[in-house]
Homo-oligomer: 211 residues x 3
């Protein structure tokens, strides 16, 4: 957790819990798609792992940092736990789809905040931080879709990455207005969650680019 | 522009214009394919962005540098401008296909020169510079094709990346003969443009690898 | 070879030979699939190159190092040699399929050892070294399959990457027991080779993740 969240000003233990729940939910989304493609346990483990940590890994490589999970074994442990639970109880995961979706959504919010903050701390501009917050949240799913040989889902449907961008924009405005950082982070996270929930509830879609 | 072109010896303002025109044309090629795949505006923006800056990003990561666009917002602005213009005037883009192709070709030439020079400046050998010049010019289109879930176009048809390699070879020979760097750069760029134009005009193809 | 193998304690010339044979065999696997997809010579060269050096490249980027082949032209030369031989003698490659498979297997073993050792030398934990050993051996094939637009083979069949993980585990145990490093490396390599051979001989498969 050190590398990833050391600069967060929210109480660490709550943030840790959210971070692991989000990692778990992202991994489950990878496992579910891997199982639809008849992947074996190894393939599923890779897709789950990549979905969970792929966004943060690309962000860290672009920032010139070591990928956060390489110095912290707990992320891999969470993905392995997800694999074991999904293998034995996959039927039950349908009953808790709502719970998993909730974990996924607050995970997305936290990943956005962490990606934004880490980019600012590395000395980049606010607009680069918005992009890195979005990359942290959304790129894992894109690599997942490449690995299962599908067109990335978020390129064709749903407001997903835009929620991260909106959160990052609010974060930037808060910092510009010199609002305390803890408020900026909370505002960013809430923005991501609310937009994502509304988008799913009301089937918000972006216009298709016509040819 | 600082990071990307600071070491170029051609007049900066002309190079800047070419760089932005090339970025614009690369983005349009991504937007066109994204629209054929019914991507939404977000998906199209990502594909356009990746097509335009993907090659330079991979090059910078391999050279241990920060991706050039992360310290210079203008590249993202050019891609957003391409997205707006394509969204509203996509029909007109068919009428200026020749112009776009020209931008694309001189963009390819400039990207090759920049990739070559940046690699030499980072202390690598001439053959690594040739490869990085090619990667700068050609990898954006490869990642674009992966994102739209197609086999990369340049693996099956057309002389494209070979034009970059030929340009890089000439650049290397010029440096070996101690020809002034501005001449080497111009020679490299002209080689890329001429080979690319001839390849399209006369349908030059590489042999298919038979099984 | 300097960067890649400088920390190996096995005699360099034998290791060099194995390294080049492995690179050659990996490149051939890429060329074979590229030819099935009707790629042209350039596309085949890229797929062969990526198959051979893709795993080590991702490992080096994650470790914050320069990709090993960028300071050593011999890897590219080996891939070009494979391309030339495959182009002219592709029919004969069917007759030596067993030999190529053997090269591939000992190459996989060596790549695992090198990836493990390089990660330890860079200061990471044993479990990160196991993952990097596996990434060095297995990721080239995954990127190959993405480039030819197929679902990665190792996600659906065969014990392949697991052999690397088993080898890395043994390596870790040997280091923990303070067994001399040369023995640990040999044990790791033999583990990879034996598991891979047994897996192919007896059609070992991992369970499919059911939905």
């Amino acid at each position: 957790m050190t590398l990833e969240l050391q600069d967060m000003n929210i109480g660490l233990s709550l943030v840790e819990i959210i971070d692991y729940l989000g990692t778990f939910a992202f991994a489950i989304s990878g496992l579910r798609l891997a199982s639809q493609k008849q992947f074996d346990l190894y393939g599923a483990a890779v897709v789950g792992m990549v979905t969970a940590v792929g966004g943060g890994t690309l962000r860290d490589l672009m920032l010139g940092l070591v990928p956060f999970w390489m110095t912290q074994w707990s992320y891999i442990a969470v993905v392995m736990l997800a694999l074991i639970l999904f293998t034995f109880f996959h039927r039950h995961f349908n009953h808790i789809a709502g719970t998993i979706f909730l974990f996924d959504t607050i995970g997305l919010a936290l990943f956005t905040v962490v990606g934004f903050q880490k980019t600012l701390d590395a000395g980049y501009a606010w607009w680069a931080a918005i992009l890195m917050g979005m990359i942290t949240g959304a790129v894992g799913g894109v690599i997942r879709d490449i690995l299962i040989n599908e067109v990335p889902l978020i390129f064709r449907s749903d407001i997903y990455a835009l929620a991260c961008i909106a959160g990052g924009l609010l974060y930037s405005i808060c910092l510009w207005l010199q609002i305390p950082i803890i408020m900026a982070q909370l505002g960013c996270a809430i923005t991501v969650v609310v937009i994502r929930l509304l988008a799913v509830r009301f089937h918000w879609q972006l216009p298709i680019l016509k040819e």
